[in-house]
Amino acid sequence: MVKNRLFMLILAIIVSIPLNASAVEPSEILQNPQLELRARNLSQNIRCLVCQNQSIDDSNASLARDLRKIVREQLVSGASDSEIYEFLIARYGDFILLRPPVKATTYILWYGPLFIFFAGLSLSVLFLIRRKRVLPEEPLSPEEQEELSSLISGKEEG
């Protein structure tokens, strides 16, 4: 009984581990595990231009398969990661990278949110500091003081 429960527990854990879904076919996988790992990492950053929101690692499209093959061929022939990216960018443009490169035309994309965050933060700080200055604690005038004490005493009487 105990053994059975343990077995079920282990089974439940195994089943709940999400397998890394990928479209790489067994025949594509390289012999060298290090190169294969690099191929997988590269492929996950290369856009499938047919499906456009999937990486070539995820996509079953025939163009994606061809690009996966090219990535692996170039890795085997000793290309560096950046050489492979350059090969693809020369043909398909920066859009083929799922992570856009940091350069003059993409500064807004990369640093815009940061800029807006700090602009908002400094505006908020400025606003809070100003608000303190706008509301100085003026002492009550003699008339106000009189009215206040009459109100308080009136309340005590009632």
């Binding site: 163009l63 043909r91 443009g93």
Partner: protein
Amino acid sequence: MRKLIYLGPLLFFIITAVYFALPILKGKDPRILPSAMIEKNIPDLNLPPLLETKPGIDKQALMGEIQLVNFFSSWCGPCRTEHDFLMRINKSEIIPIYGINYKDKQNAAKAWLLDLGDPYERIGRDIDGRTAIDWGVYGVPETYLIDKHGRIQYRHVGPLSESIFKEKISPVIKALRKQTNG
């Protein structure tokens, strides 16, 4: 006057909304990508012929003349749509068309041309699709306009039609021919 500052966010919203709305209203398809190959030389290629009667295509064959290069396949639906128009271009002799038969079975492609007609000067077979990748093709049909120095001047993704040809390709051809004569 100072209160105008509170209109800032509204202004920011309007600018952003217009920026995103314009392409939608114009009916621009965001899946159609600009080519990275514009103004670049055509890549090296050496493709075997599809037909016995016409030679295949190498780089030299595509130089020296303004022309269209059309990637097509017999298994591709939109290619069938544009085929009739390609036949008309061929008949009117506006511009020569070179065909690259993308990842196709030879017999199927031959039968297709026999059935629908052959609008091409020459046809090369891109059996493994590597030539298409060198050109930045991501889906057939795609059509490239090449100047006489072998530089890519325009790329159209999807089926060609008379209106697209008149609007987008004809003006570029005219400009190129002017350069040549001047």
